[in-house]
């Protein structure tokens, strides 16, 4: 048993449902107790979906507990088959129902005999893998099922397209800025003169999966979902894949480089150098921005990064390479992919943190006191309590991270969006200087920023007043530093003198 208040990645069935509901005309049935269909609320609220989420539950209640599901699951599958006429029905167990150890595979087999839809049982272990791993596995499962099916009835399309083409794998509902990224990726491929063969699973049909092998290669924009499918396609159909996420200028460059290499294996020599240059110079403002004098103020500022592997690694690189910001530590909650992450951010941050414990992250932020945080919604709230600004760069997210306006993270427009996000998270240059000089415009009240409640130190009136003269955004830091200094030197009362002593002795 583990005491837990919050988690970064959800349970496995959420991953399966995200894949299922991304496809068109695929219905998911959860073998779950009443109330477990909260996924529908999330999709309907966060994505503001206008359609009913194609997910229903075959309810596990007392009767099921006592006598087993019997015909219930099969009836529910056949019913959905008739009502919605889907191409595929995916049965997914939940944490609870997987303990029942019912022979769901048998139900699926029997149901598929009667239904016109294909029926699959999601192959995910609820106690070993999380939402992201499950989505990866489910996508692979569906793709392999349909390719094997097509191979059997000889409808598989093995002949390559005449023009170079690509499959984009892993665009999923409820993904962080996925919808916007997809538009940007389409433009990206268009610019490189590469046809898009299939985009999977977002808005695609399972019956078109047999066309996947037509593409020359696969592009995996996000590490979390799609990689397993890409490896499967590489093994079975000898399809190369590019798994560099095109977020940030240097990543875009290496992504394009990899694409060039892939095309070379097909004896096609493409040189995208001039395209790269033109885009970097004129379309993306990010490169010019990092050169502009405004950005100089960011030199030496500190930041921390936390999120999924894809976004956290890319943002870490951007902060370090493009903006000259000192990344104190960079971390991910994708503990299953720790090694890749460590290698990816090596040299870009002082320290690498691999954890899914948000309290550890909170303590680390309090301890390292960065000027800005780039993380998930949880880090945003930690930042609020510590009075440190935060830019949200990764799931898990709230409804405000499903913006109506166009905000991609990938591609050249993505670099502009990210530059804005980063720049706006720090206090602006002139404001910064003036606040420093005149003691800030917010001198009314001292804000306590300590996360821990242990605070037996007292402050003299003058010292308190002095504290109010310090700009709000670093006041907390000064207060904590002074208190730490006082504690180290066994003072229990802080007056002006000790404050200045602390300032003198603590540098930075």
């Amino acid at each position: 048993m583990k005491l837990a208040y919050w988690m970064y990645a959800g349970p496995a069935h959420i991953g399966t449902l995200r894949i299922a509901s991304s496809f068109k005309n695929v219905h998911a049935i959860m073998h779950a107790p009443l109330g477990d269909d909260y996924f529908n609320v999330m999709r309907s609220m966060l994505e503001r979906d206008r359609n009913f989420t194609p997910v229903t539950a075959s309810i596990v209640d007392r009767h099921v507990l006592a006598r087993g599901s019997r015909e219930k699951v099969i009836n529910n599958i056949s019913r959905k088959d008739k009502e919605e006429n889907p191409d595929l029905i995916i049965l997914t167990p939940t944490c609870t129902s997987s303990i029942l150890q019912e022979d769901l595979n048998n139900f699926v087999k029997r149901a598929s005999l009667e239904s016109t839809a294909d029926v699959l049982l999601a192959d995910v272990n609820h106690y070993r893998i999380n939402e992201l791993q499950a989505s990866d596995r489910t996508l692979e499962q569906i793709i392999s099922f349909y390719l094997e099916k097509a191979a059997k009835d000889n409808s598989i399309q093995l002949e390559k397209s005449t023009k170079p083409s690509v499959n984009i794998l892993g665009m999923v509902s409820l993904g962080f800025h996925n919808q916007h990224d997809l538009i940007e990726l389409k433009r990206f491929c268009h610019d490189l003169d590469i046809e898009i063969n299939q985009i999977v699973p977002e808005d695609s049909y399972v019956n078109n999966l047999k066309l996947l092998p037509r593409a020359w290669f696969n592009l995996i924009p996000y590490r979390e979902t799609g990689l397993m499918a890409a490896k499967y396609l590489e093994k079975k159909f000898d399809m190369p894949y590019v798994d560099v996420v095109p977020i940030g200028l240097s990543n875009i460059k290496s992504c394009i480089k990899k694409i060039e290499d892939v095309l070379k294996t097909y004896k096609l020599n493409r040189n995208y150098t001039s395209y790269l240059e033109a885009q970097t110079k004129y379309i993306s403002q990010a490169a010019w921005f990092s050169r502009s004098i405004d950005c100089q103020n960011l030199i030496g500022k500190t930041a921390i990064v936390f999120g999924d592997t894809t976004h956290a690694s890319a943002i870490t690189k951007i902060l370090h390479e493009n903006m000259g910001i000192h990344v104190l530590w960079s971390g991910t909650y994708c503990t299953h992919d720790a090694q890749w992450f460590q290698e990816e951010v090596k040299g870009y941050s002082d320290q690498v943190i691999i954890t899914d414990d948000h309290q550890l992250v909170a303590d680390l932020i309090a301890k390292t006191e960065p000027n800005a945080i780039f993380g998930t919604q949880m880090e945003r709230h930690i930042g609020k309590r510590l009075n440190i600004p935060c830019g949200v760069i990764s799931s898990p997210v709230h409804i405000q991270n499903f913006p109506l306006s166009y905000k991609p993270f990938v591609g050249y427009e993505g670099t502009n969006q990210i530059a804005d996000l980063i720049y706006n998270s720090f206090t602006l240059g002139m404001e910064d200087h003036l606040l420093d000089l005149f003691g800030g415009h917010d001198t009314t009240q001292i804000i306590t920023n300590t996360l821990s409640a242990t605070n037996e130190l007292t402050w003299s009136t003058e010292a308190k007043q002095e504290l109010t003269k310090i700009p709000g955004f670093i006041r907390g830091k000064v207060k904590r530093n002074t208190e730490r200094f006082a504690r180290d030197n066994n003072y229990d009362h802080i007056d002006l003198q000790i404050m200045y002593e602390a300032k003198e002795k603590i540098s930075g």
């Binding site: 837990a4 959800g10 909260y38 979906d49 009913f52 309810i59 609870t96 070993r128």
Partner: protein
């Protein structure tokens, strides 16, 4: 309690409907019971639901947490007693609550974890009360979670209030159901006008202030979903349950107060006038809703009381979906519903227990009601099809009891209707598809 609601038709569907998991009750109960800590013993699925359903509340260091079961717990490689002891020790050290609630979930049911057996032992060892409530999705829906918690709390209420002031001639009255403190005060003030003292509330603001429940004292419910609590109070604590409609809407509030007065042999002078005054104040809203139709998909058990109130407001109710219908506990409410329909000269709506959302959507398409009261899963898709919706969960989280809060109910109900008056949405854009 006699039932003469033979004219009401009850139907039961498949139970394929959307509702919140009953563990959601920790969200409002931890706030209500200020010195409590709620430990939900369950899986990642439970945790994910709570953290998403509670939204930003999760960031405010709430007094609840998950005891997340791992594979070792499921396969009994780990000892439940030791695991729970470690967690509760940590909670005691970090938060020092006056009581810890263990919320049993589907998983603890299936693996048959003996929470009720472990709790007394750990309670003795740690010196802190531990109350077990099985609020799981196998047996219950949404608000029924509160019912399981209150039923478990009944057993902890002291039997005798020390020695002083045991005025045996004065009948005591305990009111059960968790409502915001302001509602407690408002209802207590209403009763004081008739010289009736509320001797206690279940739950109280603090665990240490649980009301005394003596044998033979009167109890009355505030909410329609508290049937287990009512049963426990009657059977285990030998109290007398006052069966009344629930104080939701001015009509419900009057009926509720009248019933208490009749038990205490008090003439409720001026009550009718007071009710009339409240209706008068609601005039602006009533003109908006009059003649409009409403469809309850059903998910929180407040449906009968709300439908009864809305019919009194002049609305036409097509269907009352409800997760579970206790005809005995809600008997007086059902009678009032029937009576209201007769007086307003409308047909008594069908009550659909354990509804089937898919079938309901079919009926909604046929009926094209002016308003559908439904969960968040269906709200946006229905709006996209030109059907006005109100999110049902808001009725659970708003103050809706007593005379003073009738306005709040209508605020909620009329919101989509007022939106239509204020916002210029081109109706044809959204209504063609359905």
């Amino acid at each position: 309690m006699t039932l003469n609601n033979h004219n009401i038709t009850f139907e039961c569907e498949t139970g394929n409907y959307h509702t919140f998991c009953p563990i959601s009750c920790v969200a409002w109960l931890y706030q209500k019971i200020e010195d409590s800590f709620f430990l939900v013993v369950g899986t990642k699925t439970c945790g994910y639901f709570l953290q998403n359903a509670m939204g930003v509340m999760i960031f405010a260091e709430p007094r609840y947490a998950m005891a997340e079961l791992e594979e070792g717990d499921i396969s009994a490689q780990l000892n439940d007693y030791i695991e729970l002891k470690n967690l509760c020790q940590r909670i005691k050290k970090d938060r020092n609550p006056s009581v810890i609630f263990w919320i049993g979930t589907c998983t603890t049911e299936i693996i048959k974890m003996d929470l009720e057996g472990i709790a007394p032992k750990l309670e003795a060892e740690l010196g802190i009360p531990i109350i077990v409530a099985r609020a799981n999705g196998l047996d219950y829906a949404f608000t029924q979670g509160e019912d399981t918690v209150l039923a478990a709390m009944c057993q902890r209420c002291p039997k005798k209030s020390g020695t002083k002031n045991t005025n045996s001639t004065q009948k005591s009255l305990v009111i059960f159901g968790s409502v915001p403190a302001t509602v407690n005060t408002q209802l207590a003030l209403e009763l004081r006008q008739y010289n009736i003292q509320v001797s206690g509330w279940l739950p109280s603001a603090r665990y240490t202030e649980l009301p005394v429940i003596e044998e033979g004292c009167y109890v009355i419910g505030l909410n329609p979903f508290l049937s287990r609590t009512a049963t426990t109070l009657m059977r285990k604590r030998k109290t007398k349950l006052i069966g009344a409609p629930f104080p939701i809407g001015p009509d419900g509030t009057r009926a509720w107060l009248e019933k208490i007065c009749s038990v205490f042999h008090v003439e409720p002078l001026g009550l009718k006038e007071k009710e009339a005054q409240i209706w008068q104040n609601l005039h602006k809203y009533i003109t908006l809703v009059q003649g409009k139709s409403v469809f309850f998909m059903g998910d929180n058990l407040l449906e009968i009381s709300l439908a009864r109130f809305l019919i009194r407001c002049g609305m036409i109710v097509h269907e009352i979906g409800i997760p579970y219908m206790d005809k005995r506990y809600q008997g007086a409410e059902l009678n009032l519903l029937e009576q209201t329909c007769q007086e307003m000269q409308v047909r008594i709506p069908k009550i659909i227990e354990k509804p089937d959302n898919y079938n309901q959507l079919d009926r909604i398409r046929d009926l094209q009601p002016d308003l559908v009261i439904t969960g968040m899963a269906h709200a946006n898709p229905l709006e996209a099809r030109g059907i006005n919706t109100k999110w049902s969960v808001e009725f659970t989280f708003a103050s809706i009891h007593g005379f003073a809060n009738a306005r709040d109910i209508l605020e909620l109900v009329t919101r989509p209707l007022r939106r239509n008056l204020n916002v210029e949405v081109i109706p044809s854009t959204f209504s063609q598809t359905y």
